[in-house]
């Protein structure tokens, strides 16, 4: 049974059908116009679908089968840390005491939630090697914005807000970094990566002056390389009076072994949906959080979860220097429950095994694939490495390799990022991938390299077996249709 391509829930059903019955009104009914003046009422009911429950279930089941998740197979999407999401965490996040908790039910009735947030915050401070953590940011980019705001507030308090206007970031940075810095009112300046794919301390020292508020560094960086001069880099920034912001997107490769605070980071953000195994949910919700060093603690968002002397947990709003609120309540709590459970299940030994397994898998793949594909930065990598898809065959691009991988039942790596690698293929297997899966991936990549030379059209026209083939992005952007009915 195949449904029409592109079919939406609006294309289904008949007037009068519905998928959920509701209770009858059990208080005396009043004409609605006597409660709310008629001129404020909707003239007609909103055009929503009219489908039976079975139509609804079949529609979304069909759609589910058109998706590919970590549960479907290997997902080596660089920079996204697509690791297994333990099923028990879904149950735990749905415990009625957690899921049903209203954020305004008061501290006395929320001790379980607050204790969890407090403990998780303490653990993350230790993992970061820093002093205090807020879990309010909703995602990685939101954390970056929070961190940049903290730096700005700090310099305002020092009376240096006019002077400290500049945030440095390497040319390999995630796009969210410059965007977040800009949103917090900073100017951004790029630092070129050297031939090793790292920040060159000598060049950096020349670029740094008293205008620098900080540097945003992803460690390990987006090439999967640990900045081996990080201590020197941090010292240069600190000597100039700036802060070192560590983008923790790649924390999965050092967790349990090295702490950003120990290499000079003053702020670290966490992507709990990457490092701590919470599901990506097709693009969210994630959960953020940042750990900071002492000087920045007074500026953290309100409220801060604290433990009082009597052992009760509380929300501290008495923070006069705080940057304020970043979202309506206390962060993506249900996601944080999952991260908390994940850390408890793994413990110290398990966290160390996570980074060990992630780095082992990445280096294994790198060694095998560099014999087939160009590897511009060939050194020990951490969680990921970046190949170039260029030069396989004329007229074959990285996009074609990625799409052909889909035919082999494999989710493609991140492509065309980082920008400093031509035709980039950014590969992060995570500790989730078994040796057999890694070998299957190598086998597929090797077949594709052969096909590129023997029958390039197989790549150029890929994928062949998906519900839709390559889609026309240009048409989508030139003639945008973003709501039903189309046209």
């Amino acid at each position: 049974m195949s449904a029409k391509s592109g079919q939406t829930i609006f294309d289904l059903g008949r007037p009068g059908r519905y998928a959920l019955s509701l209770p009858e009104l059990d208080v005396s009914a009043r004409p609605i116009e006597t409660l709310i003046p008629k001129r404020l009422l909707r003239q007609e009911a909103p055009r929503l679908p009219e489908v039976s429950q079975v139509e609804l279930v079949r529609h979304y089941t069909r759609l589910a089968t058109k998706n590919y998740g970590v549960d479907s197979g290997i997902y080596p999407l660089g920079s996204c840390t697509m690791k297994y999401n333990p099923r028990i965490n879904e149950q735990l996040a749905r415990l009625p005491g957690f899921a049903g908790a209203h954020p305004l039910q008061g501290e006395a009735l929320s001790q379980g939630s607050l204790e969890l947030l407090y403990r998780l915050g303490r653990w993350l401070s230790v993992i970061a090697g820093l002093d205090e953590t807020t879990l309010q940011p909703a995602a990685g980019a939101h954390s970056e914005l929070t961190g940049m705001m903290l730096i700005r507030r700090y310099f305002e308090a020092q009376g240096q807000q006019e002077q400290r206007r500049l945030i440095l970031l390497p040319d390999s940075a995630h796009g969210t970094n410059p965007s977040s810095a800009h949103l917090a009112g900073f100017e951004v300046q790029e630092v070129s990566s050297d031939e090793r794919g790292m920040v060159d301390p000598v060049a950096l020292a020349r670029q740094v002056d008293e205008r620098v508020a900080g540097i945003m560094l992803t460690v390990p960086n987006t090439l999967g390389i640990f900045e081996s001069d990080i201590l020197e880099v941090s010292e240069i920034i600190h000597r100039a009076g700036g802060f070192v912001y560590c983008d923790g997107a790649n924390l999965n490769s050092i967790v349990g072994r090295a702490r950003p605070g120990d290499f000079g980071a003053d702020i670290v953000h966490f992507n709990l949906h990457k490092t701590f195994g919470t599901p990506h949910g097709s693009g969210g919700p994630g959960a953020g959080g940042i750990a900071v060093e002492k000087r920045l603690v007074p500026y953290l968002p309100v409220p801060l979860v604290v433990r009082r002397e009597d052992g009760q947990y509380a929300l501290d709003y008495q923070r006069p220097q705080s940057i304020g609120r970043l979202q309506a309540f206390y962060g993506n709590f249900a996601v944080l429950v999952r991260a908390y459970a994940y850390i408890r299940m793994l413990g110290d030994a398990g966290l160390r095994e996570v980074s060990g397994g992630a780095v082992l898998g990445a280096n294994y793949l790198k060694e095998r694939l560099k014999k087939i594909y160009r590897l511009p930065y060939d050194r020990l990598c951490k969680h990921e490495f970046v190949l170039s898809g260029a030069g396989l065959a004329p007229e074959v691009h990285t996009l074609d390799i990625a799409k052909r991988l889909i035919d082999y039942g494999i989710h493609p790596p991140t492509i065309y990022f980082p920008l400093i690698v031509h035709e980039a293929l950014m590969i992060e297997p995570t500790e989730t991938s078994s040796l057999e899966e890694l070998d299957e991936f190598v086998e597929a990549m090797s077949q594709i390299a052969k096909e590129a030379q023997e029958s390039p059209e197989l790549l150029q026209e890929a994928p062949h077996h998906t519900p839709v083939r390559r889609l026309d992005d240009v048409r989508a952007a030139r003639h945008p249709v973003t709501v039903w009915p189309a046209g």
């Binding site: 592109g6 939406t8 009043r30 001129r39 404020l40 003239q43 929503l48 279930v57 759609l63 589910a64 089968t65 058109k66 590919y68 333990p86 005491g97 049903g100 209203h102 954020p103 305004l104 039910q105 969890l116 230790v126 090697g129 995602a139 939101h142 700005r152 969210t176 965007s179 009112g185 640990f226 201590l231 090295a258 120990d262 990506h280 949910g281 097709s282 693009g283 919700p285 304020g324 609120r325 970043l326 709590f333 413990g347 966290l351 095994e353 996570v354 060990g356 780095v359 799409k403 889909i406 991140t414 078994s434 839709v468 390559r470 889609l471 989508a476 952007a477 249709v481 973003t482 709501v483």
Partner: protein, 448 residues
């Protein structure tokens, strides 16, 4: 060996051999020794699934048990019924464990859902277009302010005092960071937006970029939007809504709003102690290319079959970097899925029914509380939807403690928000008449 990591010692040896190393530790030799030596563990032993579940169950029990505490608290998060089909789909691995749909050929499930979601958000708000979600209602309104700044080039914004105080706080944070000035529009004597202040301010000042407001407002009162856009002129009218109320109320789009945002938690998502939430964002089509975050569009494949892609990506941070319309990357897709299924379940008549149940039951309770000696509606001159403020004869906290002893979470004391002796009470379709009557009975007993 953790159950989440499939490498056996034999596998490890084989992989290390291929790499040319003899231990896992050597894989970290590029990290300076002094960093590795400073490492300090958490002091946590690994725990089995059984042990962790036991611990978390105990922790969850330290919260109020929602099965034994009838919830009348609102203030931005509401206790609506969650249809059973939603959670079934949220737990399907194809939705739960996928990432942002950057590879559309194997993401048509998510992309189709987001297209449906955008359609529903546009429909409920009465706007032309919507994005694929933002973090929550408060940041969605902050993004509306930033959009209004981009298109108007103006840096002063009017913010309604009747806006949820937590949203006001978020707006203040974002406005500070973006060097914008917020001017508070006070309440009129009915607890609504003071139009005479608005008129005066707009006349004396032509550099206002927009008005940021909410309906129903923080006190539950429905704001009359008619004529506001005419007053504002080129300044943008940005309205935050409750999408359940949209089943009953004229959408802001019909009243000339430029941007409509809202909190989507009410559409099939659990309260979850305040997160994750769902930021709704819709606007007039002329701002399509100014939208923050992901947008899904319809197109065709090589064989002219209909399909969906993330589109207009030139706005976004991974392309535009510091000039992007927003820094958002990961959004709230799974909650958008829940909301889409929620709205599809209720359907055309169902959403209106839910909204009517909320409104009828809230009015039932409000009228009966207000009739008790010493109690009165805080604002009696304006209509409300499903939330209302009551002035109380005793301190609200005393009253809440009393109700709590009877298994009722009686509402939100507005004392911390500067409105003494006032309680904000929310009623949803989940509240039965027996529960409403129990609330009334408890108040009567307090007097005795």
């Amino acid at each position: 060996m953790s159950e989440f990591i499939p490498h056996t010692p034999q596998d490890q040896r084989q992989m290390l051999q291929t790499i040319g190393l003899s231990s896992i530790e050597e894989l970290f030799s590029d990290i300076p020794q002094q960093i590795l030596q400073r490492y300090r563990p958490l002091g946590l032993e690994p725990e089995s699934e059984l042990e962790v579940a036991r611990h978390l169950r105990a922790l969850a029990k330290k919260n109020a048990n929602p099965d034994e505490n009838i919830c009348f608290i609102g203030g931005g998060i509401y206790d609506h019924y969650l249809p059973s089909v939603i959670d079934y789909f949220l737990q399907r691995g194809e939705f739960l464990t996928a990432y942002t749909p950057y590879q559309p050929e194997i993401s048509q499930g998510t992309l189709t859902v987001l297209f449906e979601y955008q359609t529903m958000v546009a429909e409920l708000t009465g706007m032309d277009v919507a994005n694929a979600s933002l973090y929550d209602g408060s940041t969605a309104l902050a993004e509306a302010m930033l959009l209004a700044r981009r298109v108007s080039g103006r840096s002063k914004f009017l913010m309604a005092q009747s806006l949820n105080p937590n949203y006001q706080a978020v707006l203040r944070t974002y406005a500070w960071a973006a060097d914008l000035e917020l001017i508070t529009v006070p309440l009129d004597r009915n607890g609504q937006l003071d139009r005479s202040f608005l008129r005066q301010r707009l006349n004396s000042n032509d550099d206002i970029g927009g008005l940021l407001m909410q309906t129903p407002n923080f006190w539950g009162l429905i704001e009359d939007l008619s004529g506001l856009k005419e007053l504002l002129g080129p300044a943008l009218l940005c309205v935050s809504v409750n999408p359940i109320a949209a089943g009953l109320l004229e959408p802001p789009g019909a009243c000339g709003a430029d941007i409509v945002t809202g909190e989507g938690q009410v559409l099939g998502n659990a309260p979850n102690f305040g997160g994750p939430l769902l930021g709704l964002f819709a606007c007039h089509k002329s701002y399509l290319r100014q939208l923050p975050g992901h947008v899904v569009g319809r197109t065709v494949d090589l064989d002219e079959r209909t399909g969906y892609v993330m589109t207009l990506q030139a706005r976004e941070q991974h392309i535009r970097r510091e000039r992007a319309t927003s820094n958002i990357c990961t959004n709230q897709t799974l909650l958008a899925l829940a909301s889409t299924i929620y709205l599809a379940s209720l359907g055309r008549q169902g959403l209106r029914r839910v909204a009517e149940l909320c409104a009828q039951k809230a009015h039932y309770l409000a009228e009966r509380i207000a009739a008790l000696p010493g109690y009165a509606l805080r604002w009696s001159g304006a209509p409300f939807f499903n939330e209302f403020a009551i002035t109380t004869p005793v301190a609200p906290q005393t009253l809440l403690d009393h109700l709590r002893r009877r298994g009722i979470l009686g509402g939100l004391s507005l004392e911390p928000y500067g409105d003494g002796q006032t309680l904000l009470i929310a009623v949803t379709e989940r509240r039965s008449r027996a529960e409403l009557d129990a609330y009334l009975q408890a108040l009567k007993e307090l007097k005795a």
